[in-house]
Amino acid sequence: MNQFQYVRATTAKTAIGALVKDPSATFLAGGTNLIDLMKNGVTAPQKLIDINPIPLTEIRKQSNSIYIGALATNTDVADHKLVLQNQPLLSLALNAGASAQLRNVATIGGNMMQRTRCFYFNNPDLPCNKRQPGSGCGALEGYNRMHAIFGASPQCVAVNPSDMSVALAALDATVLISGPKGDRRILFTDFHRLPGDHPEKDNNLMKGELITGIEIPDNAFGKTVHYLKVRDRSSYAFALVSVAAALNIKNNTIKEARLAMGGVAHKPWRLTEAEKALVGKPATEATFKQAAEIAMQGAKGLKYNSFKLKMAPNTIIEALKTASGIA
């Protein structure tokens, strides 16, 4: 690992000030991804600004939403009574990710900021436009089994590895951000980016900005939710495909639906058109099959990941069946 300066910030203001002043610096929260990347030589910040002393760990009920501080750990959120009661989909997604040891340390903000697990990105000896713009994409014509089937570009076919983010995209969460110009809020679905010509940018944070928390609006989905993660082993592996599903069913008619997929794109992949197709229909396997078909429009397989073209719709159908209780 490279040498670096280490500083601690106790307030968001001082952390932001320090980052603005030193473009070679980066924030350090749980560190479970950052320290790994530094060991691999993928990134080499000259200064780490430890933001853990900032009091941003609160989880609380607001008038129409739940607020979660950016430094709450994955475990604290997944096990929190308010989250289990009001947003069980988030708990399911969090517990599907990583291991107990990592979830005890990894934060909500850090989970949003984690980098892709693409082999080419994580190996500095290989070409990668995300790690080193202009060096090419090793995965495009390489071993791309884990890679994207939606929204990829010739520059980058990597996928976002987060499970939590798939649930938050489905749940219409909002990201709270502080920066040198003050505070702003953006929709969770607008936080992460598609690669386009700038795969080096994972998200829309601007220079010096800090994620301070998220808000998840109250909803009527209750326990009619499911997070289904398909992976190479039954636990502790990144998703090949995952689906977050939430339904509001009254008299066997779907009133509202939320669907998002993980492991298929550079960002959590919200399935808005499939959601529309579910509304007003009975909660049956036929309805779910039709929605899954719509969800897959525009999907494009690569040499080694075309199995996802079949796996993804099947995962959508299974997640909806389990959520609605007809499985």
Binding site: M1, D50, S99
Partner: protein
Amino acid sequence: MEKDQCSVPDENLNENSGSSRRDFLKKSTFLSAIALTPVSLVTAAEKEMDEKLAAVFEKVPLKLEINGVKHALSVEPRVTLLDLLREQLQLTGTKKGCDHGQCGACTVHVNGKRQNSCLTLAVMHDGKKVTTIEGLANGADLHPMQEAFIKHDGFQCGYCTPGQIMSAVACIREGHANSETEIREYMSGNICRCGAYPNIVNAITEVKNGGQKV
């Protein structure tokens, strides 16, 4: 630059209470050109932070309580908790397996919670309490989980065992050892390449069902 754009950095930059409007504008201007700001210009601003500033190559003072013993240490910022334990304190019970948070051999408890000591910097734990496998036994009396691993043959080569046992104790304390399925899920961060998993699950189940204090 608009005044509201300066509100946050302004407070950090007012090092001297008597700083003039000209100083303020000058500093605001340099903030607007963040990408061009040399590191040396920002030292004054940083003095206002409640921070420990460690120059490159400089060691950082660190207080840790490890297995009940207080240590006043001095470490480079890039030293992981795992390397501090093994290389500086000779607590080699905690193992380095993959060194990337994938195997769990380095599992320790920090303030009572299990974590991978390989993926955390020692300096992030100033003032905290760390328990390693060496701190689990009570003198010559093994911890019930250690006894159970021996009884159920919960290992072959033994390299993953300290991490398995630290994780197993935490698994019960967290309340995640209520069934074989739950144990397997919550122990999935600890890999055993000898494949002693069934025996590990049996050991944890016995300790859980025995109701002993872990």
